[in-house]
Symmetry: C2
Subunit: 192 residues, 2 copies
DNA sequence: TCCAGCATGTAACCCGTTACATGATTAG
DNA sequence: CTAATCATGTAACGGGTTACATGCTGGA
């Protein structure tokens, strides 16, 4: 008798958690620390969501926990992917990429930018530019760390995944800066 | 006595709708046609959401409708921004840009890519690349149309806003293609 | 003493998607 | 005759954020 392989779909958050747990075992708290700041250009989630999703993954048989002693009042739960969990990640990687709708507030502003006088529009643009520059220096320092460590060059090492996401962040913000330059040029044509 | 200026915050969708209505009056149906496909790299929403949000904007006094004859059984409602609506858009444009968390499925895949053997990872990458190339040709044709029309050069013309969003889409996918190239190189280093 | 960090969890709420519902006109 | 398009709307549900709750340890 084959085990009942989760008929239910794993959510995107579930995949993100599994994908982290494929690297190393972790508690919900550790996962939430790693994912509640979006500084690593990967995936964000709050602890409230993570604890709930871990429970769901466990009933689906994709992760398993062992109780460990903890500093706080409660016991801590160390989660690990099961064989079925790893299989489900690999299966997902082999399926067609899902469509992505991005609702980016910068794009909203861009769409309404014509309503502002050019000099004010330039200010808005400068704000966007500053934010992207800041992100860029952050991601670049991450990339340097990963490159110095060397493991990110090995395609089968977890660091390769980290490098790939950080690189995507870099490329994104470089693109955004180029966009800022393009828009600025047109605004200045008008202004000058 | 000054009118009670909406104490409630306008949602992102609300701002998107106002920003379209600042260009031209429109019915809910027209708005939903314009926004239900994400082909113009601006903002997406379903009609169910749009009709509800328009009602909210109206009670907040930011838009106003006039009934018009329609093809269907119901009357159609043509919406227009009010002075307060236009003010609220301008006010928002002058506030600090909000942070954006993007949960991009491509990034999720990238993070887990090390789990696949290099040749399969290359296939995944090729799929991502194809999707971005397709988008790029679409957006480039939009940009050409806008540039041919000429109005997009005028910073105070609505087309300037369209051009800016389309340009952002182009820059985004160019960045993504560069990313694909970078990742592919590292994978091939491993492979070859 | 008081605050930060550890370590869970629950509940209320908002935003977005999917699906249900209605009914007229027009093109095939 | 049938399907698509016009043109609204409601309801159920899932994902995500914010806020509430608990209680221990270690440092300022």
């Amino acid at each position: 008798m084959a085990a009942v392989e989760s008929t239910k779909q794993v959510s995107a958050l579930g995949r993100a958690l599994l994908s982290v747990l494929c690297r190393r075992e972790a508690t919900g708290y550790e996962l939430s620390r790693a994912m509640s700041n979006s500084t690593d250009y990967f995936w964000t989630a709050r602890h409230s969501q993570i604890y709930a999703e871990l429970a769901r993954l466990e009933t689906a048989g994709l992760v398993r926990h062992t109780d460990i002693a903890a500093a706080g009042p409660r016991q801590s739960k160390r989660y690990a992917v099961t064989a079925a969990g790893r299989r489900s990640v690999l299966h997902w990687l082999r399926t067609e990429p899902e469509a992505h709708v991005d609702r980016d507030p910068v794009i909203l502003r861009a769409h309404a930018l014509w309503l502002l006088p050019p000099d004010e529009a330039l200010e808005v643009l400068a704000g966007i530019e500053d934010a992207s520059r800041e992100r860029l220096t952050l991601y670049r320092s991450f990339e340097r760390e990963l490159d110095d460590d060397g493991q990110a060059r090995t395609a089968s090492h977890p660091d390769f995944g980290s490098w790939a996401t950080v690189r995507a962040g870099i490329e994104f913000h470089q693109g955004r800066l180029r966009w800022c330059r393009d828009v600025r040029r047109r605004l200045q044509q008008e202004d000058g």
